[in-house]
């Protein structure tokens, strides 16, 4: 009796990890050559893994939904004859074995595993008898540019009828030959369409609705395009511990909430930004790239990205430097309401020197905000999440929030941007400083 280890195949295109989608067998099952053992998936394609040999399943390499590195052990089988693994390390318990210390998947071993699964990175490949010497078949590289795609006349005719250019269809057949199944897959857009469910939940829909891009939507599109085309963005993400800040905020609302209005995090962040730009004046600036002039502004007019029914608008809190958090909060509320009801005036919607954008509860963990041209920086606020953190050797639950901020690399160097964000982080993590400076 020998052991035959089937490793996670290299599915091409430099994919490092592959997720196990479904096991078709359980330990102890007897399997026959070519029988499909598992479904694995990359973001490109779902691939069935057939058994190259007859044998009985000894161990599965991981559980469903787990990602395994290419070359990692997928399945271990007991087989007649020598098998392809070194002397089995005793009865292998089914707990996930750490890779034996120093075990490096030598290239030819990977080669062998891969060689055993001839053909391109998709389904049933002709299996080779285990005894056969490794056939001189290299891993099926995707066809070279300019090389004619291999396809039978019937497939070619059907492709023409479907208006498909065969060059773009991955062929699963031998030597990359394109089969009817490949065409179906291509037509279905890479995913195998699930079997049509009897009830209506999965009924295929074919309607489409054309929406003209006009008015505010057109304006937003143009500004976004202008910003993306003209400004070489770079985004800097930093994690901020807002536990203290949140605690302070709650206390302030408890004490002054009734007469001065409730505070959200935003006014505090604005204060932090106001303070931080004093040490990094380049940030609170506008860059006219045609006249090649950067204008640093003393006043800090902060644009607040606000979602309205018509789309994204950016009302501006003018002279944030001259406002305490409550005044900022009130102004934000006023502007947001005006914007949402389309009553915000042109002045209220322009003149910002820096912008803050936040998706509130949907903050996500990281974002890459687009700078509000012609400004040079934008601070994005991600959601707050409570997570275990190591503090002085102990594990503590802390409220953590990411700041994803983009900068115009033409005028803001990485160090300056980082310095600015660290300053903001400093203020937020020590909220008292917001009121001292």
């Amino acid at each position: 009796m020998g052991t035959h280890v089937i490793r996670m195949p290299d599915l091409g295109e430099g994919i490092a990890e592959v997720e196990v989608v479904a096991w078709r067998v359980q330990p102890g099952d007897a399997v026959v050559e070519d029988q499909v053992l598992a479904d694995v998936m990359t973001d490109k394609a779902t691939v069935e893994i057939p058994s190259p040999v007859h044998g009985t399943v000894v161990a599965l390499g991981g559980n469903v939904g787990e990602s395994l590195a290419v070359g990692a052990e997928l399945i271990r089988l007991d087989v007649e004859g020598a098998g392809n693994a070194p002397a089995a390390a005793g009865a292998v318990a089914d707990e996930p074995a750490e890779l034996p210390h120093g075990f490096v998947p030598e290239p030819e071993r990977v080669e062998e595993a891969v060689a055993s699964i001839a053909g391109a990175p998709a389904a049933e490949a002709p299996a080779a008898a285990p005894a056969a010497p490794p056939r001189p078949v290299q891993a099926p590289a995707l066809r070279l540019a300019g090389e004619k795609p291999l396809a039978a006349p019937a497939v070619r005719k059907r492709a023409w009828d479907l208006g498909i250019e065969l060059h773009y269809v991955a062929g699963s057949g031998p030597a990359g030959r394109i089969t009817h199944a490949d065409l179906d897959a291509y037509v279905a857009g890479q995913r195998r369409p699930p079997a049509p469910a009897p009830d209506g939940r999965y009924a295929q829909r074919d309607g489409e609705e054309t929406v003209p891009v006009i008015g505010l939507r057109r304006k937003i599109a143009e500004r976004m395009q202008l910003a993306k085309r003209r400004i070489p963005h770079f985004t800097y993400v930093e994690e901020v511990d807002v536990t203290e800040l949140e605690a302070l905020r709650v206390q302030l609302n408890a004490r002054y909430g009734d007469d001065r209005g409730k505070l959200t995090l935003l006014p505090l962040l604005m204060r932090a930004v106001v303070l931080a730009v004093r040490r990094f004046p380049d940030i609170n600036a506008r860059y006219d790239d045609e006249a090649n002039v950067v204008t640093r502004h003393e006043p800090v007019h902060i644009g607040i990205a606000t979602q309205t029914d018509a789309g994204l608008m950016v009302p501006v809190v003018r002279h944030a430097e001259a406002r305490d958090p409550w005044s900022s909060a009130a102004e934000i509320a006023r502007l947001a309401d005006a914007a949402r009801h389309g009553k915000a005036t042109r002045d209220e919607l322009s003149g910002s020197t820096i912008t803050i954008t936040s998706l509130g509860a949907l903050g996500g963990i990281v974002s890459t905000p687009v700078i509000n041209h012609p400004e040079v920086a934008i601070v994005g606020v991600n959601r707050i999440v409570e997570r275990p953190v190591i503090r002085n050797g102990g594990m503590v639950a802390r409220k953590l929030m990411n700041l994803s901020s983009s900068f115009d690399h033409r005028v803001i160097d990485g160090m300056v941007a980082a310095g600015f964000i660290q300053a903001v982080r400093g203020y937020l993590e020590c909220p008292a400083t917001l009121f001292v400076e």
Binding site: P126, L150, A151, D161, A175
Partner: protein
């Protein structure tokens, strides 16, 4: 006499294989079609080419076999020396041709194609005038398809006429010549020369190139060369014809060394190639982009002029009937609105010499020239049982496949009756088969086809029968 006028959607000039197939397919697709043919439906192929030559070759073989049985046949058969009435052989051949051309006419009629018999003259890209003998008929069309085929090349120094004939006349001999000189040892010259030899004539070849069948490689030609020697056919290589002999019975020739001599001959067959028929019907008036002497086309058979198409020998090599037919069918489908392209993986070429030669796809030399790393393997018919039972052990089957993924890129074969193997060869290439596919297919025993499987096994390194 003022012209009568007519109009149609598709007008096809030329009723040969390309033209009539295009017309039939167009008819099937409901496209109003007119086909103009100046001579006989079926064109060169049916009337003075493929079909009649194969018939003559078959008759010559039969006669040759009988003659061998009159001699020392190993089969132990003894007959009296046979005689042949060439006139009735030609009549038999004409019968076949008649049935086929009749068949084409019926197919065209069935599919609603209007056939106009007469010589077409192109007035412009959408108007053709046909002289049916009576008032000229002027037909306007939306799509003009040029399928005028090719004609035999005439040597300026040895014009056709008298006892200097082209393949057309050679296929309808009233008498057999005592000594036939064939100028040109290409596939047409060799097919007919061997046939005439088997019919009893003395045959001598004069070929300008350094060997027979210059288009094919040495390995394939060698068995043919030995066969000629065995049949007692004389061959002058690197020799050229200067003109008719002074007494008008033979030709003046200059051999490789430059010495001139006279070759007496009762009849001289000039078969030095064919050229596209581009004159005599106003084609030059369209000012089309040309490709040398051929009409330039793209991979949908479009010429440079909008809605003017060209197919078959008129458009270039290989000048083969089955290429023209495939192109004709495709053009009809494109005109019907379908998306089609003429991108075959390979087009088989068969030479009905004795032994026969088949070439499909790349030869080893082609692969080397294109820089494709290939494996190539032979399987000799000498090791094939069936070949032995057919007294045809000369020749071999050769396969050429890519070394990296074993995809077969070429098949060649020379040997008795190998022409029929062309089907297996071209299907394998068209389907993108690998050596393993052919090796893994059970071929019937005992057949010549087994050599195909064995050639594939040999390429994989484990042939069984050699």
């Amino acid at each position: 006499m003022a012209e009568t006028y007519d109009s149609t959607t598709l007008l096809v000039i030329g009723g040969g294989p390309g033209g009539y197939v295009a017309a039939i397919r167009a008819g099937q697709l409901g496209i109003p079609t007119v086909l103009v043919e100046g001579a006989d439906l079926g064109g060169t192929c049916l009337n003075i080419g493929c079909i009649p030559s194969k018939a003559l070759i078959h008759a010559a073989d039969a006669f040759h076999q009988a003659a061998r049985y009159a001699g020392e046949s190993p089969l132990g058969i003894r007959t009296a020396p046979p005689t042949i009435a060439i006139a009735s052989t030609v009549a038999w051949k004409d019968g076949i041709v008649g049935r086929l051309t009749g068949g084409v006419g019926a197919l065209l009629k069935k599919n609603g194609v209007r056939v106009v018999h007469g010589w077409a003259r192109i007035l412009d890209g959408k108007t053709v005038e046909v002289d049916e003998g009576g008032a000229p008929l002027r037909i306007r069309c939306e799509h003009l398809l040029l399928a005028t085929g090719s004609q035999a090349v005439e040597l300026p120094s040895l014009p056709f006429g008298g006892n200097v004939v082209s393949s057309t006349e050679a296929l309808a001999p009233s008498t057999l010549p005592g000594h036939l000189v064939v100028v040109g040892a290409g596939y047409i010259g060799l097919e007919l020369g061997i046939a005439y030899r088997k019919l009893g004539a003395r045959v001598t070849f004069v070929e300008a190139a350094g060997r027979l069948l210059p288009a094919y490689d040495d390995e394939l030609v060698r068995p043919v060369a030995t066969s000629l020697t065995r049949l007692g056919i004389a061959v002058h290589l690197e020799a050229s014809v200067l003109g008719p002999a002074d007494d008008g019975r033979g030709v003046r020739m200059r051999d490789g060394g430059g010495t001139e001599s006279v070759l007496a001959a009762d009849r001289v067959l000039v078969a030095v190639g064919r050229r596209p028929r581009t004159e005599g019907f106003g084609l030059e008036g369209l000012l089309l982009d040309m490709n040398g002497r051929f009409v330039h086309i793209d991979n949908q058979c479009r010429t440079s002029m909008r809605n003017v198409w060209a197919i078959g020998d008129l458009t270039g090599e290989p000048m083969l009937a089955h290429r023209a037919m495939a192109q004709g069918e495709m053009v009809a489908e494109i005109i019907a609105g379908r998306r089609r392209h003429f991108t075959p993986a390979a087009i088989p070429a068969v030479c009905f010499t004795d032994p026969e030669v088949v070439v499909v796809g790349m030869t080893p030399q082609d692969a080397a020239r294109l820089g494709i790393d290939c494996i190539s393997a032979h399987f000799p018919f000498a090791a094939n049982g069936r070949a032995m039972t057919l007294e045809a052990t000369d020749g071999f089957v050769r396969v050429v496949a890519r070394r990296d993924n074993h995809v077969i890129v070429g098949w060649q074969a020379v040997g008795g009756a190998v022409s029929e193997l062309s089907t297996a060869f071209v299907q394998a290439i068209e389907m993108g088969a690998q050596l393993e596919d052919v090796a893994g297919t059970i071929h019937a025993h005992p057949t010549l086809g087994e050599a195909v499987q064995e050639a594939a096994l040999r390429a994989l390194g484990h042939a069984l029968h050699v």
